[in-house]
Amino acid sequence: MIIPLAHILIFSLLLFATGLYGVLVRRNIIGILISIELMLNAANINLIAFSKSTSLSPETGQIFAIFVLAIAATTAAVGLAIVLALYRVRKTVYTDEVHLLKW
Amino acid sequence: MNMPPLLRDIEFAVDLSFVNAKGWILDLLSHIVPDWVVVFASIVISGVAILVLGPVIMMYLTLLERKLIGRIQNRYGPNRVGIWGLLQPIADGIKMFTKEDIVPVYADKVIHCLAPIVIVIPALMVFLVVPFGERMTAVNLNIGLLYFIAVSSITTIPIFMGSWGSRNKYSLLGGMRTAAQMISYEVPMTLSVVPVIMMSQSLSTNKIVLSQSGSYDMNWFIFTPWGIVGFIIFFLCAVAECNRPPFDLPEAESEIIAGFHTEYSGMKFALFYMAEYMNAFTLCGIAATLFLGGWQGPFLPSWIWFLGKTFVLICVMIWFRGTFPRFRVDQLMGFAWKFLLPLTLINILVAGLCHFISEKTGWIYSFIIFSISFWVLVRLNRPWMPEKRHYPLAN
């Protein structure tokens, strides 16, 4: 390991927190999706770091990371399709303008 | 190979001349500076070679194209600047440098300026894994082919940047067309490479080339049933990937002026142009690597073989430009998704089949399978005509 594991974990934590901030704060749904990709990336970094340092079979972490990649791709595809459908119906992509379930 | 020893020595010397030159320089350096500097020097030497090679290739490809197109269209092509017009690219370069650099008022200026720079980077980066000759791969990555595909897929982003940053509807339309086209053709291209990976059992470009050696170094993958189909698919996709005719919809002059680089002029335009020609070159080079045996070949030095094959393929591309009319958008997408994609999947199956049976029966079976699937796919894709359009003003 070239750099200590904790540093990578802190890096991924910060990346995750940034993504979470985006998810909580961005008004644009596409912005939220982008932030979700950030969070997934942070998780992937963790997986790789652990597979490189503590895992018993070294390929497990990578394989899980690849699964996460695939899931991220599906998330993006379906999520963006939903956004497009929403935009077509409501002419908006801002979360606080889509509040049919509001009181 | 049974050659006289002297000849072989000479051939080796010529073959490895560039490699030996680099080794000699590094050897010299290692006496003067610490090790890590030598490593850096190695990288720098390769990098400088590539950085020089890229623009030169671009410049002379434009000349080649103009000449060839000229001949195809019954004219001479550029012949005034220098002997046979050889100095024409340099004159063009000077013109590009001295032209006014226009930035539209409402453009997203940072992105507008960043786009041409960014687009060159992947175009240059893919040179890293192109095996120019024996031991002449800049970085012998063990995932070389994947690296190539991944890096060349980045190209969509600078195109988006250029099209978005220009704030021009033709740019935007052209950018979206480009992205759609590149994404679509990336799929069959990647899949058409799969049989090669299966057969050579490696992702390294170098190993792929090595696995095509054999008697007279002519055991190329194009001489197998799956190889020839894969090569055709790969080459068509490559033509589409670098937006060349007949797949040049993103920059169709008659429809959307010049596509995503409508608003670019001067050196920024030159960078786009350069990236395009470098992409064409690398794609042809990779096609030669994957299917035509790369630098493998009898008698001649390896890098001559490689460059020769690559230039033949580039000439075919130029020939395409002089011959075929442009596709329509729906035809373009349908061709990728409904024709090439199924055919690549069938090709993977055929490759598996050929691996397990003898060569002759393999040819027969493959011929039958490809004929049937070709016929079926053509039948299925028959209604390429779009729905009848209504022109309200015409009524």
Binding site: I2, Y21, E37, I48, S53, A85 | -
Partner: protein
């Protein structure tokens, strides 16, 4: 420690810093297209970190999938939905301060945990270098079932995306 690994180390730290800055730009930039480009930067930086951890295949896959495909999709969506003159629209909602406070607490807690935990580092794992072939064998061996499941999920997502995004006729 020799110079080369020092350079690599600083390279990694630099990449991390770049990724973090780009990530902050992703969530704070007003122009969504810019944040998408910054995301691309983050992703490429992450890919480089993967490569530094000898996960070559994953790095290439990251670039191919994320930068090549997902980013293109996102930018497409942005282009289809964004009004070009929307600079004045507020891009964050009113709970940013609350979120920021919560996230600070979160980072502090988890940071404490990370630094306090004695992470076991095995030499075997450090020495290992996973090749593409091993990955492929793992996919076709112990992980074949999740692999097949993910393929089904991909197909389902493909169909679902097409159906959802298709215009009603």
């Amino acid at each position: 420690m020799d110079m080369l690994s020092l350079i690599i180390k600083f390279g990694i730290y630099g990449t991390m810093a770049l990724a973090l800055i780009a990530a902050i730009a992703v969530v704070t930039l007003r122009n969504l297209f810019h944040s998408a480009l910054c995301l691309a930067a983050v992703l490429i930086a992450t890919a480089m970190i993967y490569a530094a951890f000898h996960a070559d295949f994953l790095a290439a896959a990251q670039i191919l999938l994320y930068v090549g495909a997902v980013m293109t999709l996102i930018i497409f969506a942005i282009m289809l939905t964004e009004q070009l003159g929307s600079k004045t629209i507020r891009q964050t909602n009113r709970q940013n301060l609350a979120a920021l406070a919560g996230l600070l607490v979160f980072v502090v807690i988890l940071g404490r945990v990370i630094f306090k935990t004695p992470w076991p580092v095995t030499e075997k794992a450090l020495a290992s270098k996973v090749t593409v072939m091993e990955l492929g064998k793992a996919f076709m061996g112990p992980y074949v079932f999740p692999f097949e499941v993910i393929s089904i999920i991909l197909i389902a997502a493909l169909l679902g995306a097409v159906v959802i995004a298709k215009k009603d006729r």
